[in-house]
């Protein structure tokens, strides 16, 4: 079981709800992923189209928890205001805090992130900060009141996997008791399995599922990978070695002596 603030969940796979070909495919993917948490957002609503109303009705039917984000925010002010708006609409203190610092990589503005996290934590939000693998930034976020961290694997939507393996491994080793969720950049289920094998507590996937040839099948594949990776971590993987170690016993080998 995974504890996130005062909530406990069984699934270690979170799913984004954007970029699916249709609401029906999204709904099927959520079920195939066996996820308990999906990310959602806020956008301008047209009084004529009312697209947001239909989407919200669909999400409520799925019976999952929602983790609202502040995607698209480039300043502390925008992110904090968006968080307040999200808390009202979605009725949750959870907020996936994004303060974007650079548009080509969608890299977090970690300075603004820490400031916004401190403000929101003081106001009772349970902040899930989208951050880098930087240890010092992680420390600052925890000091600001965050009890969960969401380091990126690679730039959002890039599908490159765990881009800085050393940095992420160091982060995991340094903060042994903090729930760490790899957010962004994973492309295939083996990336997710690797994250769990390394001891990360969960992963958040969106583009890799939504833009797959068959999103529903890919969602199921990610679910299997996450379960396999977690089980492997629990089982205790062997340490890599530079030289071969015979797996077949040498005692009694023929033609020796």
């Amino acid at each position: 079981m995974l504890s996130l603030y005062s909530t406990t969940v069984r699934s270690r796979l979170m799913l984004g709800t954007a970029r699916y070909s249709s609401p029906a495919v999204l709904a099927q993917a959520v079920k195939a992923a066996r996820t308990e948490i999906v990310t959602v957002s806020l956008r301008r609503e047209s009084a004529g189209e009312r697209a947001g109303q239909a989407f919200w009705a669909l999400i409520r039917q799925l019976g999952v928890r929602v983790l609202p984000n502040t995607a698209g925010c480039h300043s502390v002010k925008e992110a904090v205001t968006t968080a307040h708006m999200a808390r009202e609409v979605f009725g949750t203190p959870w907020i996936k805090l994004e303060v974007i610092g650079e548009d080509d990589t969608l890299q977090p503005d970690v300075f603004g992130l820490v400031e916004a996290a401190r403000t929101l934590s003081a106001e009772g939000f349970e902040v899930f900060p989208y951050t880098t693998e930087d240890l010092v930034v992680a420390e600052r976020l925890l000091s600001a009141g965050c009890q969960v961290l969401m380091p990126w694997g690679a730039p959002i939507g890039s599908g490159r996997g765990l881009n800085n393996l050393f940095g992420l491994t160091a982060l995991r080793a340094h903060f042994r008791e903090v729930p760490l969720i790899i957010d962004a950049g994973l492309g295939v289920p083996s990336h997710a399995a690797r994250a769990l094998e390394l001891g990360f507590d969960a992963v958040l996937i969106n583009t890799a599922v939504a833009q797959a040839g068959d999103p529903v099948q890919m969602a199921a594949a990610f679910a299997q990978a996450v379960e396999a990776g977690f089980a492997a971590r629990q089982a205790g993987p062997i340490e890599p070695r530079d030289l071969a170690v015979p797996s077949t016993p040498l005692i009694g080998t023929a033609f020796r002596g």
Partner: protein
């Protein structure tokens, strides 16, 4: 009075945000609002007074990653 709603100029006869939203077609919708960059809770809309040129954001749940 003209106000900027989600980036587009709209005309409203009402000075109260709550009534202006109804007039603009948002009645009964699950939306959240900001006025000139400041969050306005649903409970505050009835006593929030608009002035010419105000910027109103009307947001609703949407897909997100």
């Amino acid at each position: 009075m003209k106000i900027l709603v989600n980036g587009a100029w709209r005309e409203t006869q009402h000075a109260e945000l709550a009534r202006a939203l109804e007039e603009l077609g948002y009645g009964g919708s699950v939306v959240t609002t900001a006025l000139n960059g400041e969050f306005i809770a649903t409970t505050q809309r009835a006593r929030t007074v608009l002035t010419e040129g105000d910027r109103v954001e009307v947001l609703a749940p949407m897909q997100g990653g």
